[in-house]
C-alpha cells in the first residue's frame, strides 16, 4: 500500500523523530511511504480561534496537496481530526465540500491505521519499561480512538502498560488556550501529571505530540527526571 503521511507543522520542527518513527514502522511492515514536501499546516490554529476564513485558505491548499493520495495517515489526533471532521464543517456549503468529504474518508490517525486498516497489533517492537497512556482528546472524542493505541502497546515485548486515574482527562493544551488561559491550562497539566506520577511509571505515552509538549513541559519544570514522555510511534519503532 502507498501510504501518504500528513506530518503536522510542530512535529516537523519540534518532534521529527516521531515522524521518522512512523516511516520506519510502515516500511518495516512492507508499505511504501510518501510525504508530499509542500505540506505546511492543516489550519487548526486559526480555526480554533474562530478565524475560519483564514483557516479555509490554508486548508484549501493543504487539501490539494493530498488530492492524489490513496490513503492518508496523520501523525496527530488533533490534526487528524481537522481532516476527518472539521474540514467538513469548514467547507460546508462551499465549493470544496466534496473534496473535504473525500479527504475525510481516506484519512486515519496512525494507531487507528495500524489496527483498523492494516489489522496489525504487533509491529515487532521491543521496549523495556513501565508505561501509561494519555488519551489525546481529539483522538479520543472526535475520532473515537481508545483501544487501538492500547492494543499496540500491549503487544510490545518488555512493556508493562498501567492505566492512570486521569487517563481520559484533558492535559490542558488546547492550542491557543494554553497561552490565552495559562493558569487554567497549567492547573489541568498539574492534575494530569500528578496522576501520571502516582502510577509509578517511567514513561507517559500519547498519540498526540501537542499533548506531550504540554505534559513534558510541565514535568520538566516541576518533576524533572521522574517520568519521560514519548509518542506512541517512538515506542513502536523501538527494537
Amino acid at each position: 500500500m502507498r501510504v501518504t503521511l500528513f506530518i503536522p507543522c510542530f512535529i516537523d520542527s519540534f518532534y521529527p523523530k516521531v515522524a521518522r518513527s512512523i516511516v520506519q514502522i510502515l516500511e518495516r511492515l512492507g508499505h511504501e511511504v510518501d510525504y508530499p514536501a509542500g505540506q505546511t499546516c492543516c489550519g487548526q490554529p486559526p480555526f480554533n480561534s474562530g478565524y475560519w476564513d483564514e483557516a479555509r485558505e490554508v486548508a484549501v491548499r493543504q487539501m490539494a496537496i493530498f488530492r492524489d493520495a490513496e490513503v492518508v495517515v496523520s501523525a496527530s489526533g488533533s490534526c487528524g481530526a481537522m481532516f476527518k471532521k472539521f474540514y467538513l464543517e469548514l467547507f460546508h456549503g462551499h465549493p470544496q465540500e466534496a473534496e473535504a468529504r473525500a479527504l475525510a474518508a481516506k484519512t486515519s490517525e496512525f494507531s487507528e491505521f495500524l489496527v483498523e486498516k492494516l489489522g496489525v497489533r504487533d509491529v515487532g517492537a521491543r521496549f523495556e519499561g513501565k508505561v501509561t497512556f494519555h488519551d489525546g482528546c481529539h483522538g479520543l472524542r472526535e475520532l473515537g480512538t481508545r483501544e487501538a493505541p492500547r492494543e499496540l502497546l500491549r503487544a510490545v515485548k518488555g512493556l508493562e502498560l498501567v492505566e492512570m486515574g486521569e487517563a481520559e482527562s484533558c492535559c490542558g493544551f488546547g492550542g491557543m488556550f494554553a497561552v490565552k488561559y495559562p493558569q487554567i491550562s497549567t492547573a489541568m497539566a498539574e492534575v494530569k501529571c500528578n496522576s501520571i506520577i502516582e502510577t509509578g511509571v517511567e514513561y507517559v505515552v500519547s498519540n498526540d505530540s501537542s499533548c506531550l509538549m504540554q505534559i513534558q513541559g510541565y514535568l520538566s519544570r516541576h518533576s524533572p527526571r521522574v517520568v519521560k514522555s514519548l509518542h506512541l510511534a517512538e515506542v513502536l519503532a523501538a527494537q
Binding site: I7, C9, I11, D12, S13, F14, Y15, P16, K17, A19, R20, V23, Y35, A37, G38, Q39, T40, C41, G43, P45, P46, N48, S49, G50, Y51, E54, E57, V58, R61, C137, L140, R141, E142, E168, S169, C170, G172, G174, G175, F177, A178, V179, K180, Y181, P182, Q183, I184, S185, T186, A187, M188, A189, V191, M213, Q214, Q216, G217, Y218, S220, R221
Partner: protein, 467 residues
C-alpha cells in the same frame, strides 16, 4: 473592568486555591463512580440518549404548538399563565401578585431562573422575607453568595465552614456532623413552610399533553413549598417543554443518572393546577410564569438551537476540567460550566461573554456526558467563530493573516522551520522575561527544543541518498 479581564483575575485566584480544587475533584470523582454504576445498569445508555435527544428535539422544534397545548390544558384546571418576554416583566408580575394577595413571607425551592432574573433581590427590596429552602441554596443565601453549581450549590464548602456559618447566622451549636447540620437547617426552615403565603419554584419540565409542571428534587422542600402556601408560582424557561407525560418515564431516570448518579431522584412531582374540587389541600392559586429572556434568540440560531434541549442536569459541569479547576463562581454568571459558556453569549451578549467560550480546550468531555446529546463543545467553537465574524480582535487579525501568508508559501514555511533552532538561542536569552513572546507558557512550563533537522529536510536528504 471588562468581564473577560475579571474572569482572568478570578481564574488566577481560584486555580491557585489548591485545597478547594482538591475538594471539588474529590466530590466529582465520587459522582463519576456513582454515575458509572447507574449508567451501566441501563440496557442501552446510548439508545436512551438518542431517544431523550429526540424527545427534546421534538419539543423545542415545535415549541409554539406545545406551549399553546400546555396553556390550554393548564388553564382549563384553573391554572394561570403569564408570558414574560424578559426578567423585568416576570419580576413585576410576581411582585404585583404578592402585593395584591397580601403575601408577607415567601418560601422558595431551587429555581435557576430566579437567579437569572435576580428575583430574590427584587422581592427583598419590596419588603418580603424570602427563604431558600433547598439546603445548598439556603447555605449560599446565608453566605450572600451565588450558587457554585446549579445542582450542587455549595459543593465547594467544607462542613467546618457550614457549621461556622450556622453558628453565626442561626445561633446553633458547633458541629462537624453533616447529619446534624442538615437537621439544624431542617428545623430552621420548618416554620417557613407553614407560615409562607407564597411558594416559588422553578420547573424541570413543562408537560404539554397534560398541562403539568414537573419538579425533581431530593429533599422534599419543593413538595412542601407547593403543598402548604396558598399561592404557588413556578418560574420556568419556555424551553423546558416536553410533548407527553409518558416522556418523563425516560427523562426522569436520565436526569437523575447524569445529574447525581442516582437511578431516580427522591421526589419527582407533577403539578397540574391549583387545588382541584374535592382535593384535601393544595394552593388556591397556581401561576406559571413562562420566561423567554433571550431564549427565542437562541432558538433562532438553528445551529445552536439544541442548547435549549438542556435539562439542567449539571453533568457537563461535573466532567469539565475547566470547571473543576476554576470553580463555579469564576464564571461570573448564572449558568456555569460548558452549557453556561454556550448560552450566556446568547442571553447576555456575545462580545462581553465570548471569553467563556475561549476558556476551553474543547476536550469534548461535556458533549460525551450530556444525556440529551447537545453538541456542547462544538457550540463553543461556533461562538468563537461568530464573535470573530462580528468583530475581529486586532492582534489576532494580524497574527492569523501572517500565519495564512506563511502557510500558503511552503518555501517560506520551510525557512521558518530551519530558523527555529537559531531563533531558540535568542529565546533562551529572554526566557521568562517580559520580552519572552511565549511567557504565558514559559512561566509555568518548559518549552521544547526545536530539532536540529526538520522532518522535511530529513526526508529530502533521504530521497537524495536513495536516488
Amino acid at each position: 473592568m471588562s468581564t473577560a479581564a475579571q474572569f482572568q483575575i478570578d481564574a488566577d485566584r481560584t486555580t491557585a486555591d489548591e485545597p478547594r480544587r482538591a475538594a471539588v475533584r474529590k466530590a466529582l470523582g465520587n459522582y463519576q463512580i456513582a454515575r458509572g454504576r447507574t449508567e451501566s445498569a441501563f440496557a442501552s445508555w446510548p439508545h436512551a440518549r438518542d431517544a431523550a435527544a429526540a424527545i427534546k428535539y421534538e419539543g423545542v422544534n415545535h415549541l409554539d404548538r406545545y406551549l399553546r397545548e400546555f396553556e390550554e390544558k393548564f388553564t382549563a384546571r384553573g391554572g394561570r399563565v403569564f408570558w414574560a418576554s424578559n426578567g423585568a416583566q416576570a419580576r413585576d408580575y410576581i411582585l404585583r401578585l404578592a402585593r395584591e394577595r397580601g403575601v408577607k413571607s415567601i418560601v422558595k425551592s431551587k429555581a435557576m431562573t430566579s437567579e437569572e432574573i435576580h428575583l430574590n433581590d427584587a422581592l427583598e427590596k419590596d419588603g418580603y422575607q424570602v427563604v431558600e429552602s433547598d439546603l445548598g441554596e439556603f447555605i449560599q443565601q446565608l453566605k450572600h453568595e451565588a450558587p457554585y453549581h446549579f445542582v450542587f450549590p455549595c459543593m465547594h464548602l467544607k462542613r467546618e465552614e457550614i457549621s461556622a456559618l450556622f453558628q453565626q447566622e442561626l445561633g446553633s451549636a458547633k458541629t462537624d456532623s453533616p447529619e446534624e447540620l442538615t437537621m439544624i437547617a431542617r428545623r430552621a426552615l420548618r416554620r417557613h413552610y407553614l407560615d409562607a403565603g407564597m411558594g416559588i419554584t422553578g420547573g424541570n419540565f413543562i408537560v404539554a399533553e397534560t398541562g403539568m409542571i414537573s419538579i425533581t428534587e431530593n429533599e422534599g422542600n419543593a413538595r412542601l413549598a407547593t403543598a402548604l402556601p396558598r399561592i404557588h408560582v413556578a418560574l420556568v424557561g419556555i424551553e423546558k417543554i416536553v410533548p407527553r407525560l409518558a416522556d418523563l418515564a425516560l427523562l426522569l431516570p436520565m436526569l437523575a443518572t447524569a445529574g447525581t448518579g442516582q437511578q431516580l431522584t427522591c421526589y419527582n412531582s407533577m403539578y397540574g393546577g391549583p387545588r382541584q374540587p374535592g382535593d384535601i389541600d393544595g394552593p388556591e392559586e397556581f401561576h406559571v410564569v413562562l420566561l423567554d429572556n433571550h431564549r427565542t434568540r437562541l432558538l433562532a440560531d438553528a445551529e445552536q438551537r439544541d442548547a435549549l434541549h438542556c435539562i439542567r442536569c449539571g453533568a457537563c459541569l461535573n466532567v469539565c476540567p475547566i470547571f473543576k479547576n476554576i470553580g463555579g463562581h469564576a464564571y461570573g454568571t448564572t449558568y456555569q460550566g460548558p452549557i453556561g459558556s454556550v448560552i450566556t453569549p446568547h442571553f447576555r451578549g456575545l462580545q462581553d461573554w465570548k471569553h467563556l467560550s475561549g476558556a476551553s480546550s474543547l476536550c469534548g468531555a461535556c458533549t460525551e456526558a450530556c444525556p440529551v446529546k447537545i453538541d456542547i463543545h462544538h457550540h463553543l467553537l461556533q461562538n468563537r467563530r461568530n464573535a470573530v465574524a462580528e468583530k475581529k480582535v486586532w492582534w489576532e487579525r494580524w497574527l492569523w493573516a501572517g500565519f495564512r501568508q506563511l502557510m500558503k508559501r511552503p518555501w517560506a514555511y520551510q525557512i521558518a522551520v530551519r530558523l527555529a533552532p537559531i531563533g531558540q538561542v535568542f529565546h533562551h536569552l529572554v526566557l521568562g522575561t517580559s520580552l519572552d513572546p511565549v511567557r504565558p507558557w514559559t512561566k509555568t512550563r518548559d518549552f521544547p527544543e526545536a530539532a536540529p533537522q526538520s522532518f522535511h529536510d530529513w526526508w529530502r536528504d533521504r530521497k537524495v541518498v536513495r536516488k
